[in-house]
């Protein structure tokens, strides 16, 4: 007869533990620190990797099964979208500006996250976090690809999508997101987890995906809704990983708290600045709006972030340093940034426009304390100039923040009528910043941030020497088609023409 086999039913947790962390062993032919050389230099102390709690307990067979189900749904929808001229069902071609920014600035970030999580998935000395990071690495390349695939069809009919790969590296506003991800990837594995796993995924992606994707649904863009929500379904796993990772660091050693706090301060603000782009998408670029940037912030920033920082208080963590300033800036940032984008729209691979009266009424309703007082007058002025045949363009050099790479167009906290501008000297050079927080981030790591590639100054140096046309060619920007006002653009004209073809006989 057979040897009796011990086959008590394992719980989900036990089984997962056998199928992941039990795979590793203590090496004896090589030193552990040689297998995982980057695990300690950041100063995070880990005493027991076994204390790691797995966020989601997905084994590979279940992963393949559920992800395949998501993929089948996604591609069925975008195939149908392409076959049925789905692009003509969107509310209005203005909406496409938001998608162009997404493809140029955010999708490359998905790829960077893929690469960064592959590195983290190899560098952590515990199997629990390794496997969780690897799963995120493969998810992130999924997101980059589903986004490119969803927007591929728009590229066939509209301007501004065609050179996203070149513009990722060359055009000025994409370097806001690029520098964010480069900053995270050039950090060690623990800081990377705070940057992407925690700040970006847990605190900020809700703001990027959830209200914006609801907006896409509202504007008839089923292709974007599908990639957005499909990506978010992975994001729920990623958020859980981010939160687990931060708890793990805080519980492992009290000395970790100070380091983690510094990273939270830094990455909250870095992320908040990247969301500047998203705020304009929400408030200005959706022809039909779901909620304002302020309303989204209240739910997903203030309330959700607040709950989280309340919870982390037991470890001695306080809300990020920029938290209060961020809450105040939310009433201004989309307006200030959209005004900037409009006046530099000769240099953007998407269109912007002067908000209609109806748009402005919506904005004053959503921003009762700020829009009419500070921003409506500026838009009215720009509108007058436009009507007089002298459209407002600013060909001057914008000062870019050395840290976040946004133009320094934001106001002083507490004084919306003045421009906030900081500078500091390091090794005889002067560096410019948009805010105290960005300046502080620089001062913590000056050797890193002096390396930043600043796209605007590059325009004025050799070989371009301020030649705008040469710059456009280098940035793969088709002048007169990709850029400028929406009014009279190829996108506007074609969309109208095609829509008429399909709705009339």
């Amino acid at each position: 007869m057979d040897t009796p086999v011990n086959k008590k039913k394992l719980s989900l947790k036990e089984k997962y533990s056998y199928l992941t962390r039990d795979l590793a062993w203590e090496p004896s032919y090589q030193k552990k620190e040689d297998l995982f050389p980057y695990a300690t230099y950041e100063g995070i102390k880990v005493h027991d990797w076994e204390k790691w709690e797995d966020p989601f307990r997905l084994t590979m067979d279940a992963y393949w099964k559920y992800q395949a189900e998501k993929e089948r749904k996604f591609y069925a929808i975008i195939d149908a979208f392409a076959q049925n001229n789905g692009h003509l069902k969107i509310t209005d071609a203005r909406y496409l500006s938001a998608l162009k920014i997404f493809l140029q600035a955010i999708s490359p970030g998905e790829y960077a996250a893929h690469k960064g999580f592959a590195r983290a998935g190899r560098e952590f000395p515990g199997v629990g976090p390794q496997v969780a990071c690897q799963m995120q690495a493969i998810d992130e390349i999924r997101h980059a690809q589903t986004q490119i695939h969803a927007m591929s069809n728009y590229n066939k009919f509209y301007s501004g999508f065609h050179a996203f790969a070149d513009q990722r590296d060359r055009i000025w506003y994409t370097s806001v997101a690029r520098s964010f991800f480069d900053d995270a990837m050039s950090a060690g594995p623990f800081e990377f987890m705070i940057a992407i796993g925690f700040s970006f995924e847990y605190v900020l992606t809700n703001l990027l995906f959830v209200p914006f994707m609801s907006g896409a649904a509202y504007n008839g863009d089923m292709s974007t809704v599908t990639f957005g929500f499909s990506a978010q379904s992975d994001e729920a796993r990623h958020m859980t990983l981010g939160l687990e990772c931060i708890k793990f660091m805080l519980e492992q050693d009290p000395a970790n708290v100070e380091i983690v706090q510094k990273w939270i301060d830094k990455w909250f603000w870095r992320g908040f600045r990247v969301l500047g782009l998203v705020s304009t998408m929400m408030d200005y670029m959706l022809p039909k709006r779901v909620m304002s940037w302020r309303e989204a912030w209240d739910i997903y920033g203030e309330e959700n972030g607040g709950a989280l920082f309340n919870d982390l208080a037991r470890y001695g963590i306080r809300p990020p340093k920029g938290w209060k300033d961020a809450g105040e800036a939310v009433d201004h940032m989309s307006h200030q940034f959209m005004l900037a984008l409009y006046q530099w729209n000769f240099g953007t691979a998407f269109h912007s426009w002067i908000p209609s009266d109806e748009d402005m009424d919506w904005l004053s309703k959503k921003y009762p304390d700020t829009f009419d007082k500070y921003y409506r007058p500026r838009w009215e002025h720009i509108k007058k100039m436009d009507e007089a045949g002298t459209p407002f363009n600013n060909f001057g050099l914008a000062k870019l923040c050395q840290t976040c790479q946004l133009p320094t167009v934001f106001s002083e906290p507490g004084d919306p009528s003045s421009l906030c501008h900081r500078e500091t000297e390091y090794k005889g050079e002067t560096y410019q910043f948009c805010s105290d927080h960005c300046c502080d981030i620089f001062k913590e790591e000056p050797e890193k941030f002096i390396q930043a590639w600043l796209p605007m100054p590059a325009l004025f140096q050799a070989p371009l020497n301020g030649d705008l046309e040469a710059w456009m060619e280098w940035a793969c920007l088709e002048n007169g088609s990709d850029n400028g006002d929406f009014k009279g653009s190829h996108d506007q004209v074609s969309f109208q023409k095609w829509r008429e073809m399909t709705t009339s006989n």
């Binding site: 559920y66 609801s214 978010q232 958020m239 607040g306 919870d311």
Partner: protein, 88 residues
Amino acid sequence: MSTVFIAFQTNEETRPVIEAIELDNPSATVHQEPAMVKIDAPDELVIRRETIEDQIGREYDLQELQVNLITMSGHLTEDEDTFTLSWK
């Protein structure tokens, strides 16, 4: 008190899940938004496998939730029978 939440895509697969959540969490509030359903609850929200199975009349694996999940907030604890979000 802090709010936990979970959001799903609006479709036929999530309808019984949301009904089950409402049954198990009387203090939860359900918000219908474009293409998505978001459920808020004070401090804790529990999803029970059994209640979902009662709704759909077949066996259900809680990991199936992930196919239509959009977002969530709170600490997650997960076993064969329950999927719990909480702030505590």
